[in-house]
């Protein structure tokens, strides 16, 4: 209490400064440690851009080529760094163009603060030029949103925005600021937000439930862990590793959880879900205790709920109380931050070994390897496969690259076959499945972590959804490596058409442009590979490049991704062909 009062007194001693709302916005961002933001100017946000010009040595504004690109770039920034990504846009179309990225961030729990300009408050509701009710539109896809109409509200609202975006289960926050609030004046003082009375970011851990969880795990003969992004967001990678090693538990991941544990870890048994690995999917329905950590039992993970892990006792470690019993009933629910709850669990666990249980995973892996993996990564047929491209990237990057994937077949292949040594290395649109995500997200990721190798893996469809961001890559000199796996189809939809719609390929075939020429048009070094013999050398050249590099690989047109749990089927019915 003493220290608290001291700080407050010290703070009150600080003289406040009379500045404009728009300067207060930029100064608030700087006070939150923002040094990069992504956006696009326009009428209603111009006063803020004028301030960004003045503060350009302290805060770098990245002009994307579309506001959707700005939102995804901010997501990529947040996902690789764990920091809050910031996107800015003008009112009306600028603001609505952010929405897809915001919805993506909401469902994938990505901390974003989006700032939009708004028409002057006296024009609100008058259908003014570029007026749109962005607070109304963004409500269902934001963790919090707010419209500011007075300059004096700006520091407090932005402080609250950053606090809400980052704390607890992270998510996107949108702050809409009218032009008169930007022009208005205020006495500026910035104080970080430390709490909101109606909001409990992290529920208290109930030690009784931790004990109950430990008892179930200690008694289990066939325990299995499925972890999700909660481990990454909670920075609980070390705790997860310690838990699985001590209790000798096979651990699988959702695509949002990928890379929290190195791919090479012997207890890492792969990915669950629709295109996940055979063993963890099948054995979900054989385990006796299923330990879910920071995951939300998405339908792409569980398949048919009525036949999902019915034999198992379920333990759910989760930060968000609304996820408990939402899809799968939890026999034991441990609310709290994954790092703290796993740390409390660890000393209660017995050292254990489950050799015969591990053997079941190994046996099923051998089947999957024979029927699927071998042909994916070491194909003998003439056409190139997506899997061998990923394999080559693993070899050349030595598993140190951050892989930013788009949505579709290539995404599933990227998640299945990427080798990850480091956490926060799998950046993809998991929940929303947003085609067009990867190219701008890779820009944000590269700028947040310039020393990391960032490789975007994109299909020929998704690439063309935000292809304009090549302009951003060029202007920013962002050394993003772009791999387009071109099968001249919207591959995943085509796969479903083949399997479930009698091969009626309705609007999935693509007549593509000269991608190399387009990249070269943006002065990005580009290469196209059509033969297996050229692949290794081309990937090597790409990885070795100090600058951005575009690599198009023409892959087999009608390959399918397996294993596959058909939509609505049980995890037990995972198909290998």
């Amino acid at each position: 209490m003493e220290a608290e009062t001291m700080t407050k007194a010290k703070y009150l001693d600080q003289p406040s400064e009379r500045i404009t709302g728009c300067e207060a916005i930029v100064r608030s961002l700087i006070a939150e440690g923002v040094d990069i933001l992504y956006g696009y100017p326009g009428g209603a946000i111009m006063p803020v851009y004028d301030e960004l010009y003045k503060y350009r040595n302290e805060i770098h504004h990245v002009l994307t080529r579309h506001e959707q690109g700005a939102a995804h770039a901010a997501q990529g920034f947040a996902r690789i760094s764990g920091r809050v990504g910031v996107a800015m846009a003008t009112s009306g179309p600028g603001a609505t163009n952010l929405i897809t990225g915001i919805a993506d961030a909401q469902i994938d729990s990505t901390p974003l603060v989006c700032i939009t300009g708004q028409v002057p408050s006296h024009l609100l509701g008058s259908d003014a030029f570029q007026e749109t009710d962005i607070v109304g539109i963004s409500t269902p896809v934001t963790k919090w949103n707010h419209q500011v109409t007075k300059a004096s509200e700006i520091p407090e609202v932005l402080a609250k925005a950053f606090y809400i975006a980052k704390s607890g289960r992270p998510g996107p926050v949108l702050i809409d600021i009218t032009k008169d609030a930007q022009f208005g004046e205020l006495d500026f003082k910035y104080e970080k937000c430390t709490g909101v009375r109606s909001y409990i970011p992290v529920p208290k851990i109930n030690t009784e439930s931790v004990k109950a969880a430990a008892e179930l795990i200690n008694a289990a003969k066939k325990p299995m862990i499925v972890w999700g992004q909660g481990v990454i967001l909670g920075e609980a990678e070390a705790e997860l590793k310690a838990v699985i090693e001590k209790a000798d538990i096979p651990a699988a991941w959702t695509i949002m959880g990928a890379s929290a544990l190195p791919t090479s870890h012997p207890l890492n048994i792969g990915m669950v879900g629709m295109h996940g690995n055979y063993a963890p999917n099948k054995l979900t329905n054989e385990c006796d205790v299923l330990i879910a950590i920071g995951m939300r039992f998405d339908d792409r993970v569980t398949g048919d709920l009525s036949t999902y892990a019915k034999q198992a006792k379920v333990i759910h470690f989760e930060i968000d109380p609304a996820e408990i019993n939402k899809n799968v009933y939890a026999d034991v629910a441990v609310l709290g931050n994954s790092k703290d709850s796993l740390a409390q669990l660890l000393p209660l666990l017995n050292e254990n070994s489950h050799d015969s249980w591990h053997q079941e995973f190994k046996d099923l892996y051998a089947i999957e390897f024979e029927k699927v993996i071998k042909n994916d990564i070491h194909p003998t047929k003439e056409g190139l496969t997506m899997g061998e491209v990923l394999n080559e990237i693993n070899i050349q990057s030595e598993g140190n690259a951050a892989i930013v994937s788009d949505v579709g077949q290539h995404q599933m292949i990227a998640c299945r076959y990427s080798k990850f040594n480091k956490t926060k290395s799998n950046i993809t649109s998991g929940g929303l499945g947003t085609m067009g995500f990867a190219l701008p997200a890779a820009i944000g990721a590269k700028m947040a972590a310039p020393n990391r190798e960032v490789v975007a893996i994109i299909g020929d469809g998704g690439y063309q959804m935000n292809i304009q961001e090549l302009g951003t890559i060029f202007q920013q000199k962002a050394a993003v490596k772009i791999v387009v796996l071109n099968n001249e189809f919207l591959g995943m939809v085509r796969q479903w058409q083949q399997l479930f719609f009698d091969k009626r390929y309705a609007s999935t075939e693509m007549t593509n442009p000269n991608f190399v020429a387009i990249a070269e048009g943006y002065y990005i070094k580009a290469r196209k590979v059509v033969k297996r013999e050229e692949l290794a050398e081309a990937v090597k050249e790409m990885i070795e490049s100090k600058e951005s590099y575009f690599l198009e690989v023409c892959v087999e047109k009608e390959d399918n991704v397996f294993p596959m749990i058909p939509s609505g089927a049980s995890v037990s019915d995972v198909r290998l062909s």
Binding site: V135, G136, T139, P140, K143, W144, N145, H146, Q147, I164, G195, V196, R197, S198, Y199, D320, P321, A322, E323, I324, N325, K326
Partner: protein, 177 residues
């Protein structure tokens, strides 16, 4: 698995902010839950609003949407209760031609028996107000409708719970942190 659909009263304590109604109604809308009635007013605590929403859903649905309400930043706490756990009322207003008071002597009996209150009377019309359970208001409506109702309106349910709701304590705990 076929759970019983019940009439449940959802109480949501919130900060008094623009836009919250939107957030709350969106949670119902997304799940195709029809709102039977919705009332919002200030609560027993200064600066804290209370939504009272009546819906017909199963208890497991109710548990899930309570989680969704509480997840909203400006929602302090949300609860659901069955009819047995609450004390609740609605209010109906009837505008009726004044002539009928004299032409149809039965109306005076109806008013007396229903415990309805006369809010105002003038030459043209009089206004009756009836508070109580939905059925009582409906009954009065049927009785009066035989003679002709110029206007009718019924409020949403207002309700208090038999059990205490510890909102003040929760807010106190936050302030003492």
């Amino acid at each position: 698995m076929n759970e019983e659909i019940k009439t449940l009263t959802i109480s949501i304590y919130t900060e008094n902010n623009i836009g919250l109604l939107n957030r709350i109604s969106a949670i119902f809308q997304r799940r195709h839950i029809n709102i039977e009635s919705l009332t919002t007013s200030k609560s027993e605590i200064e600066g804290v609003n209370r939504f009272v929403v009546v819906v017909n859903i199963t208890e497991s649905q109710a548990k899930k949407i309570i989680g969704q309400f509480e997840k909203q930043i400006e929602v302090i706490r949300a609860y659901y209760h069955t009819d047995e756990e609450t004390i609740y009322q609605e209010s109906g207003m009837f505008k009726i031609k004044s002539d009928l008071l004299f032409e149809e002597p039965q109306i005076q009996n109806i008013i007396k028996e229903s415990n309805a209150r006369i809010v105002t009377v003038n030459k043209e019309f009089f206004v009756l107000e009836k508070s109580g359970r939905r059925q009582e208001i409906e009954l009065l409506w049927r009785e009066l409708n035989a003679f002709g109702i110029m206007q009718f309106v019924r409020s949403g349910r207002i309700s208090v719970t038999k059990e205490p709701m510890k909102i003040t304590e929760m807010l106190q705990a936050f302030n003492n942190q």
